[in-house]
Each structure stands twice: as structure tokens, then as C-alpha cells.
Symmetry: C2
Subunit: 124 residues, 2 copies
Amino acid sequence: MQFDDKVPIYYQIKNHLYHEMMTGQLVPGEKLPAVRQLAVDLTVNVNTVQRALGEMITEGIITSQRGKGNFVTTETPRITQLKEHLIMEQLERAYEQLHALNLSDDEIIASLKQYIAQRGQQDD
Amino acid sequence: MQFDDKVPIYYQIKNHLYHEMMTGQLVPGEKLPAVRQLAVDLTVNVNTVQRALGEMITEGIITSQRGKGNFVTTETPRITQLKEHLIMEQLERAYEQLHALNLSDDEIIASLKQYIAQRGQQDD
DNA sequence: CCTAGTGTTATATTTTACTAGTACACCGTA
DNA sequence: TACGGTGTACTAGTAAAATATAACACTAGG
């Protein structure tokens, strides 16, 4: 995995795992890879993984069972709620940044459309 | 000024100054506040300000004149170019994050429109 | 020439993220 | 009971960001 050195790695790991839940690569009740395995996969230290997981446990997104593993919560509403929260967070940040660059609401929408159109031409 | 402890302060200062240029609070050729004054205004150390300015000088967005001050470049194309770059950066980041949350192109545009609409109802 | 205001540079210190290594606690199974 | 797989916790060390403080270099104006 590739990290942006502008933000803490543990924070990026959280988002990485969030995304796997959102896209169904990790379903409710499923067991996460072992912390040591995650550390290897992400080429990162166990403690850094643990810090990310620790926050997610506090948030109630995953549950921890000593000796068994970490599991995605079975309380699906929490996950739905998390997804909406993450989306809102992204929209808000992007909007405020673009607004600060002196773009009007319409211009923001237009530039996003244009960006997506351009992107579609090239790849992905 | 309020900082997000997830990203380096010097980096946020750069963006702060960028925004002031984009919104016309700082026009081409204008003198920036003195580094020591900026440090006070932003409740930050002089060296941290200097680090932000140093990068901006390297980028050619501002020019430095020892004994006189720092000035916004008069090469307006540079600023225009910077603005487009910053916009692109924001769009790209937001798009990739939302895409990673399993939203289609159309859903991304729709959610942004909805966000703006909701926002318009409340305040600002 | 002197001084106030400016940018620039340097050193030492503190804080935080991250790493490395180790040990402990718990579960399931043979 | 023993062992391998698991989460958890602790200590020590490194690197980068930010701070505090000070000194240096240049400009403009009396």
C-alpha cells in the first residue's frame, strides 16, 4: 500500500479498512486479517496497525476478541451510518476547499462534471 | 487560524496563502505581511512560516527581497496555473475518495448537488 | 552612521508518529 | 497439558515537525 506522507499512516489504514467495508470486501461479522498479517501486508509496524484498529474498536465499527481476532461489527446500521458520514466528510471538505478558491456552487458542480468527463476519456 | 493536526502546519499555511491569492485578498505584486507578523497572526513560529514561504518561493509564486519583504509574483499566468492545479488536486482527491466508497460517477455528482442544495437551505 | 523593519540562517529542545523488539493474555485444538 | 495463532501492552529508539531563541544580512530613512 502506498501512503501519503502528509497524513499519519494509522489514519490512512483506518480509511483503507473503511473502504474495504464499503465495497463489500469485508462484510459484517467477517474476521479481519490478523494484526501481524496486516502489518506485513501493509509493510507497517504492528503497533501502527493496532493504533488504527484501536480507534475503530472505540468507534464500534469492529469488535475485538482476544485470542480469536478482530471482526467487522454485525450491527449493519453502524456501517451504513459510517458510510454516510465518510461521504459527507469528503463532500464538505472538497466543497469548502473549492469555495475558498473562489468557485461558485455552479462552478464547483461544473468543474466536477468536467473532471469526470475528462477522466472517463483516458482510463479506468 | 485553526489547524488540522492531521497535516503539517507549514503545509496548511501554504494553502492559506494560496487561498488569499485566489480570492483577491492578495493581488499580484502585493507585499505579504512580514514573516514575524505572520507568525504572530497565525500563532506559529517564524521558522514554520519561513518553511511555507520557502516552498512558495521555490515554486515561483512569491518572490523574496531581503530587507524589503515577500511579494506575490507579478507573473499572473503562474497564479492562474496554480489555481487550476489546486482545483484539480481537490477534485481528484474527492473523486477518488468517493469512488473508493463505491459511488458511481453519477452518484458522486448527485450527492454533491444534494449536499450543496442542503447547505443552501441552512446558512452561508 | 545609526536604527528600525525586513528576510535568512542556525542551534537546541519538545512533541508526535512510527518502528523495533519483547513479553503477556487468551482461544482452540490436539 | 502443550502449542500455535491471536490480540494487547510496554519500553526504547528514530525521524520529522514545530518551537524557542538568537544571530546575521539587507533596505530605507533620518
